[in-house]
Symmetry: C2
Subunit: 475 residues, 2 copies
């Protein structure tokens, strides 16, 4: 039986200005986790959340995580909160993060990044609006709307909001593993709202993510940086070797040249073949998000498969070489190329390492260079695929239909959200990714925004999801 | 007839502590031209020189050069000075620079970089000691020792000391061209002391320099930086294209892969073949300067030819890509590879441009990429070769024999000193490069030093050179 939701929905609509004000307050706190000088603002943002939750009647803890790795800087606390502890209700654990990417007006923002600017067309610009303050506040707003409408909250809610997501979630994994059978012990399922619709029109539920193996190739020779006039032509240059090694990894069309990678990829099944055509995704949306037409494929199916179920390799940059504007005639003594591989089922992290190390070593050996080469992993995170047939997804699907009037697409994502797999492993429960924002929100870019419609309907969706969760039969 | 120099030499020895103190005062002024915040120190250094010169009886001008290109920052003044105006004497124009490279103790210096530290073995550590404050003060010290010894100064000395050499000599070329037939009108020859011995034991005179053509290859595609999770595998990545283009330029052994470069290089003559074996240069010295044994050649002759008379190509770095320590999963939207070619006789700047542009375009075209590529020159400077048979060189050669007891090597250099060719063209006179420091001084590195012996004997050499200049017959 479909739950009664009209009263809740009306209440959300009535409170929409209040919810936007709450988002404005949150955006105004520049909680940039990657900048040491902003750390007090990150902490302030954690306290803001804790205060709001306390006012709503939740039990809140600000859990310290110790020092940031390799520094003397205190990590911002994790906000752990519980709303309700009725043994007859299901318990849903939700995750979000209250820190944001860096932003400066001078980077090219059209508005002040930490001043939420709502345009007439409903676009709400501000750093953190969609990533991830809007979704985090969504849960608080859902609680408040239930209270104001006098509707019983359908589940017990456990909340875990961190303040270091944009800088590697330092310390979080240990906390989740430790609390998996303690603070999070009675969670029946997990819901993460830190991703995006595939396009701009149709909601989706996400059941898969690619993993990421990140590598460094370090080539060194001279004892110190050299002057290219004095030494050019007489010394073997590490940078010459490095660009040749990096050039061997992948081609313009994204084809990975490393043996043993493609061989690990799960074959496409008959069932899967049919999945892609129905997905609401157009090349136009991709071109818009990309800001150009420089795509590898011209069709939807190949593009989605490339993003979701095939590995990719990106060369991110070079450390140690000249990287500023202008001209400098340096021969860098030690250069470190950075690249990563997005991994998919059934790739294994260790096996992939071995393939990469072997390929890079062979590419370097071919150069016959006297320089020294090292290749090593910086970090790795496994791919993740959940069962979209679990009641957790069924509830989210029904809620989506109720709020947005359409069956959501079941999608995977090309990116990695390492916390997903951590929650799955620590709790042993099904994890659902339930996005609020859309593909053109520009989460890590300038002019990040969240559409008012996605925010308000998103608040309805989170509440509705919890009502359907309460009604879903055990499988 | 050899000039009487014993009195002068003894005076220099007697005043050596005083001269070291003068160098200490100069080193203590952190005249780093590349850092805007240090600009007042650069200016202070210019005034220090002007004051010292005035005390010595020279006529001094502090010539303003206007604003630094593209900024609102005043350029440090050029110190123009004249010592003596006896029409019966020859006039020598000398050039040096009073600015220095950046230096921070934390970069790895063993001593405070702006605190001249004299070790028992005679090494004098300090930023600018050898590049170029020691040589600049050499001229002042030579004047003072003549005065103290009561010896008539043998020539009229014109001095041009600039404060932006380490940051592109902004504004200097125009000044030299303008003053070529005015302030510098009666110069009979030019002497530049801003280079180094080839090794550590034997002095040299330098009559040739390589030129430098500096290029950027810019590849762009997406409208903004992308997340490699979301877009990896679906977008053509500029960085993938760039490393492939850069990899096509040169191999590990320094062989330039661009057609039309080797073809422009002057053939080795029979006479030249015999030049290299006699040069005081060992692979050990090179290994020491390099801090490793990662040389392209194992023998002296090939190495010297590679440095002096063959072109070389160095890849300096990439702008726009991830260049910090750590890991960042960015797909850079626009990356600019920087490389330069050291040029030699008879290469032509424009012809070399055309070869480079054609090669890069073809390398990019082969990739069949949808990204956009531009290749363009950042700056170019011509190679320079002077006549080592001119009286200017003869005088320097005799002075070297007198001070050091050996015939100097006649050498060329791999680097570029653009001001050399500017002086040659503006004055129409022979230019000599007369080095003071040795090859292991580490001019642009940490722990820059000048050996006390090179400084003190160098002061003798500069004075002796002027005496021989006065005696050389007109050719």
């Amino acid at each position: 039986m479909a739950p009664q939701l009209d009263g809740y929905f009306k209440q959300v609509d009535d409170m929409s200005n209040h919810f936007i004000e709450r988002l404005r307050q949150a955006v105004a706190i520049p909680s940039v986790s990657s900048e040491a000088l902003r750390r007090p603002d990150v902490v302030r943002m954690g306290h803001f959340l804790a205060d709001e939750l306390t006012k709503l009647g939740a039990t809140v803890e600000l859990r310290p995580l110790g020092k940031q790795h390799g520094t003397n800087l205190d990590l911002p606390p994790v906000v752990l909160a519980r709303y309700g502890s009725d043994k007859k209700k299901r318990t849903i654990l939700v995750y979000g993060h209250y820190d944001v990417q860096p932003a400066e007006k001078e980077d090219g923002w059209n508005t002040e990044p930490f001043d939420l600017t709502v345009l007439d067309d409903g676009r709400m610009f501000g750093r953190g609006s969609t990533d991830d303050k809007g979704p985090v506040l969504g849960w608080l707003n859902a609680i408040e709307a239930h209270q104001k409408a006098g509707i019983d909250f359908p589940v017990n809610l456990l909340m875990c909001f961190e303040g270091m997501e944009e800088y590697g979630s330092d310390g979080l994994e240990d906390l989740i593993n430790e609390e998996g059978k303690k603070y999070f012990a009675d969670a029946d399922a997990v819901c993460i709202s830190d991703n995006y619709w595939l396009g701009t029109e149709k909601p989706c539920l996400t059941y898969g993510l690619r993993g990421c193996n990140y590598y460094s190739v370090e080539i060194s020779g001279p004892g110190a940086d050299l002057h290219s006039g004095v030494f050019g032509g007489t010394a073997q240059e590490p940078m010459t070797d490095l660009v040749r090694v990096l050039a061997s990894l992948v081609d313009t069309d994204g084809k990975i040249q490393i043996k043993g990678i493609a061989e690990q990829v799960a074959p496409v099944t008959k069932e899967e073949e049919g999945l892609y055509d129905g997905i609401a995704f157009t090349m136009d949306t991709l071109h818009e998000a990309l800001g150009s037409k420089t795509t590898i494929f011209e069709d939807k199916k190949s593009t989605l498969m490339a993003r979701w179920r095939y590995p990719s390799l990106s060369v991110h940059g070079v450390e140690g070489a000249f990287s500023a504007p202008g001209a400098k005639t340096v021969i860098p003594a030690k250069v470190i190329g950075k690249f990563s591989i997005r991994t998919v089922p059934n790739m294994e992290i260790e096996k992939t390492h071995q393939c990469v190390y072997k390929h890079v070593q062979e590419a370097f050996d071919k150069l016959n260079s006297k320089n020294t080469m090292k290749v090593y992993e910086q970090h790795s995170g496994k791919w993740w695929v959940a069962s979209p047939h679990h009641w957790n997804f069924a509830a989210a699907s029904k809620a989506t239909q109720r709020v947005w009037g359409v069956q959501p697409d079941f999608t995977r994502e090309g990116g990695s959200i390492p916390v997903t797999i951590t929650f799955e492993e620590a709790t042993g429960k099904n994890v659902l990714l339930l996005p609020m924002g859309s593909s053109t929100d520009g989460a890590h870019s300038i002019n990040e925004k969240l559409d008012k419609k996605n925010y308000i309907e998103g608040i309805k969706l989170l509440g509705a999801y919890l009502h359907y969760v309460a009604e879903e039969p055990m499988v």
